[in-house]
Amino acid sequence: MSTFAGVGFSNDLDPVQAARKAAEQARNNLYNSRIDIAFVFCTMHYPPQDVLPVVFEELDQTRLVGCSTGGILLATGMEFHGIGIMAVSSDTVKFENVFTSHIDLQNPLEAGKILVQQAADEFRARQRKALLLFTDNLTIDTEEFLRGLREQAGPLPYIFGAGSSDNFHFDKTYQFHQNKYTTKGASGVFIGSAPYIGISCRHGWRPLGKPRHITEAEKNIVVSIDGEKPLDLYKTYFEAEAVTLMNNPMGQINIRYPIGIKLPGPEQDYLVRFIKDLGKNGELICQNNIAKNSETHIMIGNKETCLRAAETAAFDVKGQLKNKPARLILMIRSLVRQKILGRAAKQEIQVVRDILGKEAPFLGMCSYGEFFTYKDGNKNLRTAVQNGGIILLAIN
């Protein structure tokens, strides 16, 4: 036996029925093998207090990790209403799940360290290849939390994951662990001993115009770029319309022409920062932190660039799997990306499946912010938060 996965989905109006149906389907598609871990994603129509106990029991009280989401990604497309479950059984891959709540009440750096310390030594640290996390990006300082994780996790090559989401209300999201749930917390799983594991994070936005520098920034607020107000920079591109278009956090400029921060390292990649709001003095209030003195560009993205990015991510993963077929595919996609892709959203799933294998069980969720690991200029591992990203995880 190797690694197998079974996917179940239900959009029954009754949460308990939906949970039962989705769990049954996942189990049946796994041909009733022993379940080592289950990934569970629910849209906001399904209260976790009703769903999780049912799923936990139906799946023999296995390890359960997941979160709330604004959309569930299936092989057939995206569903804005339902419960999606991927049950995994493996002789070779080890899973160990971790959980913490009320990060907002703690020092996020310490909380990150404690999360890693929590993990029982089910398999030796050096066999841990990756840590997949779902956090509440709306309320916690994710960057600090990830820094704490990274410091404690040591040589763990890959920390990745995403922020749980809701249906564009930016209100309250949930993280799941076994038959419990929390808000303002984090739930995740260590993955280890996998012969081949492929992880990639891409976004699809490209730098536009000439490079500039963040001359002044405070956490997620860009105060000045090249000594000028950031709003003035946008006005040079969009004229007076810039103000109107940036009033809405999901406005055209905010998500299609975000700020990009150049990452140190060989990959020449960018951290995308969507603009949440305008400050009184023309500052940009972004989704996540911006480092002062970073090289920056206005970024441009559309559905074609997003699809190309998805393709690149899939090829990255395929290379990491040494071109062997994937046994399961987990996809995390920024909910904002969904808005950019529009009707091409389904196409993005098809692109990934075409490259990684149409037969592989597939499940995904839509997120508020994604995080991934990269190597900086000194080849040190760093974990950063991305906006508008697509993350792929495949195991063979």
């Binding site: 209403h81 115009g209 591109y237 956090p249 559905k303 529009g342």
Partner: protein, 507 residues
């Protein structure tokens, strides 16, 4: 020596200075070149930046259009799915069950409500999504009080956050429905208000546009149409049910009436039979004694007494004939007459009847014409009974045809039966009398019937005998232009539980 040293040093210094100067000049050139390159690069960057600005403006417009187009296409896709779903059912409850699924979410609405007025004109919820029960109750309460809003909806107005004229128009609705963006409109059948649909979003990511208004408007039309179809179908169905029920009831009543009629008819036949039997016995005595007295066996009787006795005898004969006819009718009706079906040529019977009635025809100088096709197949009949049909019809023809007239007997083949006609050039029968002609005891009101006595049973008997042969009998006539009686007799044996045939066919 020191001079040479000085010269050598000077030369060396000069050479070194020259080399340094040369290097310096070269470096300056390079620096200048680099500076120029940097300037060119900066210019290129600025030019690229300018181009980027142009690209971005076009890109922005394209993206806006693309987003609107995508939204419309998604909306139309979802609308088509919904339309197909609700048009497959003609049950109003099923329509709303379909709409109670999260399918309307595919149109991009987080919350929606479909309300229709019940029999008391109060609004009731038929489909809802995204609202807790208490929320729905509160909304219904508010709508009940908001007469202006209901009036506007009934007039066909669309109320939405897209087309706000002033904040007051919609602020309350925001609060009650807990949404930032909404559309509210009624759905109609013709001009009748059937209900209303509310769709709303809390998130600014899904604010409404005029396109969404149009979408909701189309959806409302489709819902109205579907409900109207369902209601019409139900009306038709109920009417049909009622009609079927009425038909069944009438059929039941008619069946009962028929049963009653059959019973009455049977009772009548039995009565006639019983009475006729009872009458025949004393009549036989009357006739017997009259005959004996007439013969003078008991003693001589005066001539005048003899005349009267002969009249008694004659009338007794008439009465006996009438009673026999009644008995025959009763027996045929009740199936007690044994029919012996055999094949016989019509010509045989016609000739026999002609012989019988020739004296009467000669008295009135009536011409008798027989036109029977030579190839006419033999007919399946009880000869003695069938003869009585001919006797009655031809006898009547003789009675009602004036002197010098003509009676014609014809026959033709019509599929599996022979159609026989007896035509006279007599006085004819009035239209109103033709319907009752075959009723027992009926006699048409004319001069001849007033003069010539009859029982009124002949045609009734002829009809019964024809029907016992599985044939039919009818008449066509015009006053003063003559009459034709038609009747049919089968060529082959007909299945009938009450009929007995000889089992042999004769040519």
């Amino acid at each position: 020596m020191s001079e040479n040293f000085f010269i050598a040093t000077s030369v060396a210094l000069f050479v070194v200075s020259s080399i340094l100067a040369f290097l310096l000049i070269d470096r300056s050139d390079n620096v200048k070149k680099l500076s120029d390159s940097l300037k060119t690069l900066r210019l290129s960057f600025n030019e690229l930046d300018e181009q980027a600005r142009l690209i971005v403006r076009t890109d922005l417009e394209l993206n806006k259009a693309q987003e609107e187009l995508d939204k419309r296409l998604n909306g139309l896709d979802a609308l088509q799915k919904i339309s197909r779903l609700i048009s497959t059912t003609l049950d109003e409850n099923e329509i709303f069950q379909c709409l109670n699924q999260p399918i309307l979410s595919e149109l991009g609405f987080e919350k929606y409500l479909l309300l229709t007025p019940d029999k008391t004109a109060a609004l009731e919820t038929r489909a809802s999504h995204g609202f807790p029960k208490e929320g729905v109750d509160a909304i219904l309460g508010h709508l009940k009080e908001n007469h202006a809003l209901m009036e506007a909806l009934k007039e066909g107005k669309i109320i939405s956050s897209v087309r706000r004229t002033s904040p007051e128009d919609y602020r309350n609705l925001h609060q009650f429905f807990h949404v930032k963006h909404f559309i509210l409109t009624g759905f109609f059948a013709q001009k009748d208000f059937l209900g209303m649909i509310f769709a709303g979003n809390q998130s600014d990511a899904f604010s409404f546009t005029e396109g969404d208004e149009e979408l909701i408007s189309i959806l409302a039309d489709q819902i109205g149409q579907a409900i109207q179809n369902a209601r019409l179908f139900e009306e038709v169905y109920l009417a049909r049910q009622k009609l079927e029920s009425t038909v069944q009831e009438r059929t039941r009543q008619l069946t009962l009436a028929l049963e009653d009629l059959k019973k009455i008819s049977k009772l009548k036949s039995e009565f006639i039979s019983a009475v006729s039997h009872e009458l025949r016995t004393p009549l036989t005595s009357i006739k017997g004694y009259a005959s004996i007295l007439i013969t003078g066996k008991i003693g001589d009787i005066p001539e005048k007494v003899k005349e009267r006795l002969e009249k008694i005898n004659k009338h007794s004969d008439n009465l006996v004939k009438m009673i026999n006819d009644l008995l025959d009718i009763a027996r045929i009706e009740s199936g007690r007459t044994e029919m012996r079906f055999e094949k016989h040529h019509l010509s045989t019977i016609v000739n026999s009847v002609q012989d019988l009635l020739t004296p009467q025809m000669k008295d009135k100088n009536i011409r008798f014409v027989v036109q029977l096709p030579p190839a006419l197949p033999p007919v399946m009949m009880d000869v003695s009974q069938a003869e009585r049909i001919f006797i009655n019809l031809i006898g009547n023809a003789v009675k009602f045809t004036p002197e010098g007239g003509t009676i014609t007997v014809k026959a033709k083949e019509d599929k599996n039966k022979a159609v026989i006609s007896v035509t006279d050039t007599g006085v004819g029968i009035k239209k109103e009398d033709q319907e009752k002609l075959f009723n027992e005891f009926f006699r048409a009101d004319n001069e001849i019937n007033q003069q010539v006595k009859g029982s009124g049973l002949g045609l009734s008997l002829a009809k019964k005998i024809t029907e016992a042969h599985h044939g039919s009998i009818w008449v066509t006539s015009e006053s003063d232009q003559g009459t034709t009686f038609f009747f049919t007799l089968p060529f082959d044996r007909q299945e009938d539980a009450s009929a007995h045939d000889s089992g042999e066919e004769t040519a």
